[in-house]
Symmetry: C2
Subunit: 144 residues, 2 copies
């Protein structure tokens, strides 16, 4: 597989991942991860190790945001070899508050991929917001 | 280059990077980055694009923590192809406060690498602490 073809496949994986999160389709989201996934998510824990732990976390996240939500990505930067690839992008994430208003912020995402039996799988994921070192508060007002 | 050899080289790069940060040697730290570096650092900004911007940020970080500091890594998980690799690890980071006491917390790190002209270079880096979604406060008390 050429690295150009690999890049195209990773771009498609990121697109379908984004659509699955927008649709709150946890089963489809989980289908992109390898069993060995180690995820550094933006909230609550240092890490989620393995698919079962991350599945539970995704389900909890979807319950936390019951209304319509926003999950838009800037164009990812993809670096791909034949069987190993990684990507990073900024994402605008949001949800509806109790007044039904959409509130959103920009987050950072990085992902590591391996091609296993001909299929690209996410083996590592890192989502975060930066924080203010003076106050310790996450910075939700930053814009690209 | 075999992927086992690539893994060994990435491990060495991470070791020397850790030592350079511990020694507050910004010139050596900068030597590991490619010009195209896009860094998602734990503090202050969504991203630092390019070596000049990230250099300035590293210098500001070192001025922010003038005393002795702590920068210890758990064993990184490294996924390496021939010319593309990525790694992730947990790190214990700390510094001395105004009373001269060491205060530390656990952070998450991910990095993406490319082998360019026979040398591995960091092209992407992501450091963060997770936050509490209820309060928006970064979580500095979590332990692996």
């Amino acid at each position: 597989m050429s690295t150009a073809a690999a890049k195209t496949e990773i771009q498609m994986l990121i697109d379908t991942y984004r659509q699955a999160v927008s649709a709150k389709d946890v089963d489809t989201i989980m289908s992109f991860y390898d069993e060995s996934i180690v995820a550094f998510d933006a909230i609550q824990a240092l890490q989620f190790v393995g698919k079962a732990a991350y599945h539970q976390h995704w389900q909890a996240c979807m319950q936390m945001c019951p209304g319509p939500h926003m999950f838009e990505f800037q164009a990812p930067t993809i670096t791909a070899g034949e069987d190993v690839a990684f990507a990073h992008w900024l994402a605008q994430c949001g949800g509806t508050n109790e007044q039904g208003e959409m509130q959103s912020c920009w987050m950072r995402a990085s992902a590591g991929y391996r091609r296993i039996n001909g299929q690209w799988r996410i083996v590592h994921e890192h989502w975060s917001a930066p924080f203010d070192p003076a106050s310790g508060a996450a910075l939700f007002d930053l814009k690209p």
